[in-house]
């Protein structure tokens, strides 16, 4: 499996604050990767580093085997939709497409035009008067029609209403299916990503907390509930991600590659939402220093 994005100890510091710290990550090819984390977790920083808008303070990053620097060859391979989907308010939709054609050697104008048709956008309309959803679609069209090998989208649906969100993501998935492009999609809401992602990266507090295949993550985490039990008595092959106790009962969210054999437990599968929240609160909680901060499942 080749990696589309590989980072090693990657960090970006603003003044004395690390926006992204010691990030080591491998994102495999041909996946739709969800990058989840609360606002300020470092999602935008990571994506900007990947597209070359930022340069790392420490560590290294390679995208499609190349260093994201200011070279047109590298830029051509990466499609990027920035946060808030910026467009030129004074330019019409048609002029945005002409911009794409002028600035990208690999521009697929047939694809661009047919997408605009499909979305029933008026080519003469100024981008400034488009709705948030339409603007996002225009930005996505620009990024897709340059025929990149990887598509990076920074909170593309954050400003959209639920219907527009669904349409946007559906559209994106169709494009992914047709063009086989790898996608990294960030959001602070897991519900946005649940349906479309097959790989998940959780960022919290400037660090990667969890990274892995969605199916593998779901099948290796369990929620156990049963009579009260001290965490120290848990088997060593079960890593406790989250725990809560009442006087008589204990609930654990554990990760294990083995089956849960103890008949005392009621075993339930976890949802992606549970999982993300558990890793985030683990990162925030006092106990997280004893365990490895990074969970990798492949």
């Amino acid at each position: 499996m080749t990696a589309v994005i590989e980072t090693n100890g990657l960090g970006k510091r603003y003044g004395r604050k690390w926006a992204l710290h010691d990030c080591t990550l491998t994102i495999p090819e041909g996946k739709v990767v969800g990058l989840v984390g609360p606002n300020g977790a470092g999602k935008t920083t990571l994506l900007h580093l990947a597209v070359g808008l930022l340069a790392p303070t420490s560590g290294s990053i390679t995208v499609l085997g190349g260093r994201p620097d200011d070279s047109s060859a590298q830029l051509a391979r990466v499609g990027f939709v920035a946060q808030d989907t910026p467009t030129y308010a004074g330019l019409s939709v048609a002029k945005h497409l002409r911009m794409g054609a002028y600035l990208n050697a690999s521009w697929d104008s047939e694809l661009a035009n047919s997408r605009i048709d499909q979305l029933s956008l008026d080519p003469r309309q100024k981008a400034g008067s488009l709705s948030g959803g339409q603007r996002a679609q225009l930005a996505l069209t620009l990024a897709i029609a340059k025929r990149p090998e990887i598509l990076l989208l920074d909170e593309p649906v954050a400003g959209l209403d639920p219907l527009a969100r669904r349409e946007f993501l559906q559209n994106l998935m169709e494009d992914v299916a047709v063009h086989g492009v790898s996608v990294v999609l960030s959001s602070h809401l897991i519900v946005d990503l649940e349906r479309v992602c097959d790989h998940l990266v959780v960022l919290f507090g400037s660090q990667v907390q969890l990274s892995g295949e969605v199916s593998a993550l779901l099948s290796s985490h369990y929620r156990l509930s049963g009579p009260r039990r001290e965490p120290s008595t848990m088997p060593s092959n079960q890593e406790i991600i989250e725990e809560s106790h009442t006087d008589r009962q204990s609930t654990f969210l554990v990760r294990t590659d083995d089956a849960i054999l103890d008949p005392a437990w009621t075993v339930k599968p976890v949802t992606l939402d549970d999982l993300v929240l558990a890793y985030m609160s683990q990162a925030r909680g006092p106990g997280h220093l004893q365990r490895p901060a990074l969970g990798v499942v492949s």
Binding site: S72, L75, Q83, P86, R98, M99, Y102, L103, N104
Partner: protein
């Protein structure tokens, strides 16, 4: 990238072309009249033995339009820097579109090169054309005024405005790139341009060429003026009346062959003063002329074009330095 930059810039270009066209029409409508007045009054004034009245009347023709055109050529480079150069890059930062344009298939350096290149070329062409038209329109007026080095006139004629335009645009773009905010960039372009223009006018232009010196006899027409100072009476002469048309006179000194100015004792004797200057002006001038002469420090009129070229080069050079700085800056990682 050039085609895209053009796409973004068409409206402004159309506006600039419109302004130039209007100015051209106004100048074409009023220019021939100026030539006509010149031909009928100044050109034939020798026959009527009254050239100074004719000259004064002529230089007052279309006074408001003269002032307006001077102000236009003076201000257009500044406006270009503020309203075109400064927003050119800073607006991309403010609206976030730099994240769009910098992630297309061209490098940032190329993007910036086109912004600079197209911007500088169009501003230089527009201001050059404007200056050319105004210079043409004013040619007879300038000939009669014979004051080509006048600080107000030198900077709004011929080729120096082209340098101002290039510099103003580049300064605006650079300020936008560094400050990333439109308003501060505009204010920087405003203050920076005025400051550099003033510095060059006051402290660079006079020193581009070493001035020449010339000794002229004191004659009756020499506009001498006498001052009572605490240490006694002194004599001086205003730079304007020295009789070197189109020259830039730095100073006129009244000195003897040893280079010394007349002493108070000498002046009291040679030019006894009444309430309104010397009691006997003719005697005074004759006595002064017998021992003293005028020492003029000046730039001859033939240095007008070398100075225009030098000052153009100074501003283009400054623009090149700013461009080099901007390329260095844009290659540095963003923070």
């Amino acid at each position: 990238m050039i085609r895209f930059a053009w796409l973004q810039f068409r409206t402004q270009a159309a506006l600039a072309a419109g302004v130039l066209a209007i100015v051209a029409v106004v100048l074409a409508a009023t220019g021939p009249n100026l030539v006509h007045i010149y031909d009928t009054t100044v050109a034939s004034c020798a026959a009527q033995h009254d050239c100074s009245t004719a000259a004064t009347a002529f230089t007052d023709t279309d006074g408001p339009l003269q002032v307006f055109l001077g102000a236009l050529v003076l201000l257009v480079p500044l406006l270009i820097g503020m309203f075109w150069g400064a927003p050119l890059v800073s607006r991309e930062f403010e609206t976030g579109t730099f994240r769009l344009s910098w992630t297309q298939g061209i490098t940032r350096a190329r993007w910036l090169a086109v912004k600079f290149g197209l911007g500088a070329l169009v501003s230089m062409a527009a201001v050059g054309l404007l200056s050319l038209m105004v210079t043409w329109w004013s040619s007879q007026l300038d000939k009669v005024s014979a004051d080509q080095f006048n600080p107000l006139g030198f900077g709004v004629r011929d080729i120096v405005p082209i340098g101002y335009a290039a510099f103003a645009l580049v300064l605006g773009v650079t300020a936008g790139l560094v400050l990333r905010r439109m308003l501060p960039a505009m204010l920087t372009a405003l203050a920076g341009f005025i400051a550099v223009r003033e510095i060059v006018t006051l402290w660079v232009r006079p020193y581009l060429f070493a001035p020449m010196h010339k000794s002229l006899p004191i004659i009756a027409a020499s506009p001498l003026s006498f001052d009572q100072t605490p240490t006694g009476i002194t004599v001086s002469e205003s730079a304007r009346g020295v009789g070197l048309p189109n020259a830039w006179v730095y100073s006129v000194k009244i000195v003897d062959n040893g280079g010394h100015p007349p002493t108070t004792t000498f002046l009291n004797r040679a030019c006894p003063q009444g309430n309104y200057g010397p009691l006997n002006s003719r005697d005074c001038t004759a006595r002064l002329a017998a021992r003293f002469h005028q020492l003029v420090t000046y730039q001859p009129s033939s240095r007008y074009w070398p100075m225009q070229w030098y000052e153009l080069a100074v501003f283009l050079g400054a623009a090149v330095l700013l461009v080099a700085f901007s390329f260095w800056r844009i290659r540095r990682p963003l923070s």
